[in-house]
């Protein structure tokens, strides 16, 4: 188990008198952490707090074992940030923009230029790097912003909605690039409301719902809660079979044409199912778990938080 690099303990933060984060507690150790939640859930506010831009009224925030906001400048010098709202410099080229970002992080002009080209190379930005940024497509602008965020070799990357506004090929391309960065060993926090992106990139999730934590931990824990729903197909799996299975404590979801969809509840090894199949002489041809998508798991977790 990795050590957590983001630690939040009972964080309360208000904006304009309105409480935005309400007792957020989480220890996040993933290589890539997805920060997800509906609009207004507090994702951007939490990012602001993680960078020391916003000060929590109470609670503890540690990033890379540094206490915030006291060590904000140290955290920022070790982080690369790709902000959704940030523009790109209208007057310069892609190289100019990335050089600027490098100099902002304290590199000399010569070193900045060298690292800017290296970062653009890593993101497959070719000769376009010499063109004015104002003529870039959205995808190229996002790549340029990603290069700006990693030009100074930060330990962590904080990406706020990196794929917003991209067409499907552009999105896939950028997601692959970010995944490569993750695989190279960089720790990433990615804020997104696109569950596919979180599923593709992240191994851990922090799900915020109206300023509270609806879920925090490995994604597989969110999806894989118990045995889940099972789909069985075969001869003899008829309505009577389903009814008996229901009487033995299974939650029957659907039965049609020799198919039964059920939730076995506590019977993790499906003993009752196999026993009944043997008793009835049913011939089971296929048996598989119907895992929920991350999106449905997230919605379920959010609904669960609402009920509480």
């Amino acid at each position: 188990m990795n050590e957590p690099w983001i630690q939040l303990k009972n964080v309360h933060l208000s904006r304009g008198g309105r409480p935005v984060l309400k007792g957020v507690t989480a220890d996040l150790a993933g290589r890539a952490i997805g920060l997800v939640g509906a609009n207004g859930a507090g994702k951007s506010t939490l990012i602001g707090a993680l960078l020391g831009v916003l000060k929590a009224e109470s609670g503890m925030i540690h990033v890379l074992d540094l206490d915030l906001p006291r060590n904000a400048m140290q955290v920022r010098s070790r982080a690369g940030v790709m902000a959704e709202q940030a523009g790109v410099f209208p007057g310069g080229s892609g190289v100019d923009a990335v050089v600027f970002a490098a100099m902002l992080n304290g590199l000399s002009r010569r070193e900045s230029l060298r690292k800017a080209h290296r970062a653009l190379d890593a993101l497959d930005v070719g000769e376009e790097r010499y063109r004015p940024v104002r003529g870039y497509s959205t995808g190229m602008q996002q790549r340029c912003k990603l290069a700006m965020s990693l030009v100074h070799d930060p330990e962590i990357l904080i990406l706020d909605e990196p794929t917003v506004g991209l067409d499907p090929p552009g999105r896939t391309q950028l997601l692959n690039l970010i995944r490569d960065l993750r695989d190279e060993g960089r720790r990433i926090l990615v804020s997104t409301h696109i569950m596919h992106d979180a599923d593709f990139l992240c191994d851990e999730l922090l799900l915020l719902e109206a300023g509270t934590v609806a879920f925090s931990g490995p994604i597989r824990d969110l999806i894989d809660t118990g045995v889940g729903v099972v789909v069985a197909a075969g001869e003899g799996l008829d309505a009577a079979f389903a009814e008996t299975l229901g009487q033995r404590g299974y939650d029957i979801r659907e039965q049609a044409d020799e198919h039964i969809t059920f939730e076995p509840n506590q019977d993790v090894e499906l003993r009752e199912f196999w026993q009944l199949a043997a008793e009835r002489g049913a011939e089971v041809r296929a048996l598989g778990r119907d895992l929920p998508s991350l999106e449905s798991a997230v919605i379920r977790a959010m609904e669960h938080t609402d009920e509480q």
Partner: protein, 250 residues
């Protein structure tokens, strides 16, 4: 990291590099070139009488000190904040590792110095062309330097709290500051343009039928007042830049 420059140096470069591409700087360069072109035309036109050329250059100098510097300040003082907000590029320095206070101080000082250098170069050029010698030049340079810093700080605050800082600044300048600097009452002491005029001996007063015979301000006092305006509004600008929500992540 092997090499880590001082935050002031970083704040300087991250302000100066994108500065050149800003709208205000482009307009400022055009205005500067316009002044130079006017001087060149006046000086090189053989068909204009020498007396007219001398008068025109002197008028140009008066205009530069009393109007050019304040208007330049209204224009250039949008660069430290408003331009970055418009293009959403201020976010990078705000989320970067350089403290906001250092960034704000560097931004005000660099903008003021840029304006003072431009105005100083033009004054020097005029003085060379008029063959007047450089005896009075230090007072003119003192006037435009202190005026540049005072106005940049003042209009910096305006741009910080007002989306239409350019228009608001011009309204303040032409409806209040410049007219106020010409009234023959003590009220003119709150006008930076009056003090710039006093230092450079360029001040004008409205001719009223009643003579007040009020005492004038000394050069030293005017210099102190302009310095005070620069420090007070500069501090306000820095405090605002530090605390105000400027479009960062939140």
């Amino acid at each position: 990291m092997a090499h880590s420059p001082h935050p002031v140096s970083t704040a300087f470069w991250i302000y100066v590099i994108p500065m050149i591409s800003t709208r205000a700087m482009r307009i400022g360069i055009v205005l500067f070139a316009g002044f130079v072109a006017c001087i060149a035309v006046l000086f090189m036109s053989g068909f204009i009488s020498p007396g007219f050329v001398t008068d025109a250059l002197q008028d140009l100098r008066h205009f530069l000190i009393m109007v050019g510097v304040p208007v330049g300040a209204v224009l250039l003082s949008e660069i430290p904040i408003r331009d970055g907000i418009t293009h959403r590029t201020l976010l990078y320095p705000l989320l970067g590792p350089v403290p906001r206070v250092i960034q704000a101080v560097v931004r005000v000082v660099v903008t003021g110095a840029t304006l003072a250098l431009g105005a100083g170069a033009l004054l020097l050029l005029i003085r060379i062309l008029l063959k007047e010698g450089f005896g009075f030049l230090p007072r003119e340079l003192l006037s435009v330097t202190l005026g540049a810093f005072a106005y940049v700080a003042l209009f910096g605050v305006v741009h910080l709290y007002n989306r239409r800082g350019l228009i608001t600044g011009l309204v303040i300048l032409f409806l209040f500051d410049i007219p106020l600097g010409k009234v023959p009452f003590s009220l003119r002491n709150i006008s930076p343009s009056y003090h710039m005029g006093v230092i450079a001996e360029q001040q004008e007063s409205y001719q009223l039928p009643i003579m007040f015979g009020m005492p004038g301000t000394s050069v030293a006092m005017s210099a102190l007042i302009l310095l005070g305006i620069a420090i007070v509004f500069g501090a306000l600008m820095v405090a605002g830049f530090k605390r105000k929500h400027l479009g960062e992540l939140c």
